[in-house]
Amino acid sequence: MNNPDEVIEGLDAADYLADDGLAMAVFLALRLGRPLLLEGEPGVGKTAAAKALARALDTPFIRLQCYEGLTAGEALYEWNYQRQLLHIRLAEARGVSVDDADLFTTDFLQERPILKAVRHAGPTPPVLLIDEIDRADDEFEALLFEFLGEASVTVPELGTFAATRPPIVVLTSNRSRDLHDALRRRCLYHWIEFPAPDRAASIVRRAVPGATAPLIRDATEFIGRVRGLDLDKAPGLAESIDWVSALAALGVTELAAADVWRTIGAIAKTPDDRVAVAAALPPPPTR
């Protein structure tokens, strides 16, 4: 991928329609070898972008889901203690002495996503997705700095693993918490905007090939209107795709109020929102 347009084409081939901003962000991240921090409201396609990038580059996709209290043991590496103990008992039974060098070898090292990405030995670097980094805590952010800065992981007992080909790192965040400046400094940043209705329509068309054009047009337009309402959880692009898939599965070809009613659970995710969306519907025809 030599320029942003090629990124758009590549992602397009992987069924992801990127806009110019995202294409530029991905291009620069690839070219500069920097991690890419993607932010945007839920369901706007942050995770999907990383997946599509892996497909477009035809490389393995490694995912690390963040949560509070995530430690080196779950993100970087862990020693296989059970095997170590077993090894010790075996050595005892055989009357062989055991020292550190026997126990702390790569045989006993369990790779977790980040170390896996660093030690990946393929022709192309893998795509590592660190998903919802805002759900992790400050300690985990600090843990990431070495990896994000140098693409290396240090295991005290063994030494430092440096990646031969630095992995392509994508971080996503929903902004439920402000990330530390030190983390932001190490990343390129892109805020994914919610796409305009016609763009949303083409994305949905790509995601749900079975749906008819009028259905997609009406549905995205309706979603656009619903997003203007005062909702607890405004439907995102992911909801639009779910909803159109649901409608297509029901064999709906043109949007009618009754069909919206039947599938309202795909776009309204709280009881209050259900009421609000229902109020936005045209009144049902009297029979």
Binding site: E41, Y67, E68, G69, T71, G73, E78, W79, Y81, Q84, L85, I88, V98, D100, D137, E139, N174, R175, S176, R177, D230, L231, D232, A234, D272
Partner: protein, 393 residues
Amino acid sequence: MRGTDRAAFAVAFTARLRRAGLQAGITETDDLVRALAVSPPTSRTALYWTARIALVRRHGDLAVFERVFATVFNDTPPLPLSRSAVPPRRRDDGLHVAVPGTGDEGAAAGGGLPWATLPPAVAADDPDLPGEGLDLPDLRPSDLAALADRPFEELDQAQTEALGTALRAALTSWPQRRSRRHRADPAGHRVALRPTIARARRTGWEAITVVRERPVPRPRRVVMLCDVSESMRSQAAACLQLMRAFTTVADAEVFAFATRLTRLTVPLRHTSAREAIEQASDAVDDRFGGTRIAANIAALLASHHGNTVRGGVVIIASDGWDSDPPEAMTAVMTRLRRRAYRILWLNPRAGAAGFAPRVGGMAAALPFCDDLLPAATFTDLTAATHHLRTLTR
């Protein structure tokens, strides 16, 4: 003492005496309450004697009693209290600016004329007035304590700042939650495998010392919304100080609102208190357009800061005068209630006698609030921050 809660007065006064070293307990307090009931104090002397007889049981305690009584009652106007007996409050509105006098003004107001006029706005040369040179603040903690009980509108900027600093220092405890991160602790329930194995290296790989760990408590996030509209004018400055205390001490998101929402977390984090407050005041430019509480809370929840409320303590400082209909308030508070851990409402009028939350917005919001606290003085604000401590489940 009409209209005074005798029990509250007696308890507070006894508590103060006890802090000063006088040995008085429940019995003495009870005696004072009964004594006040049977002999309602008509003058300061009467009150002095009633209290002294009821409370002091040892000669050695007399000195303490005298001292405390003097501190408490010296500044109060003579009894019986009536509106006319209270001296007019000093006005700090910038209208009466003292200009250096020429020295020939008459000593008496009115210049010896047989009628009374306003006191002269021209000050005589006063050696006590702060002149040039460095003017060092000479504030003792007791001065601050006295200031803290004054309503916000009577405080000038310097006093507000001093009290804000004190408030920040007092902000030590915080509602906490249990996090999913663990820390080594002998009293913990979970075995920390990694350090245990690391220790076992020294003992021939036999895990003799078991390292345990327990969850680390984390402070909850505080989200504070402060009403800066015209009706909250004098309170807003103090609330800014409270918000600054929150932003500098812990994880907090603070917003000001009148007709629209302004995020003040970043400006208020500034190292210099004065600059922080100035920047924050500059950031707010919708003071004079009325108040839309419900619309602003809705805007907060809809914005990408809406998730910051989850599991946090929400503090709303407002008098509850809302131009939005109460139904809007109910709707938005329902939503806020579902996301927040606790909701506190600070109302500057709540401390006043005879206060009832009858204002539409306030009445609508009240069923969703965990507490409605007064916020008319810095003492109230400090009490509110202490109240945060009790919020841990």
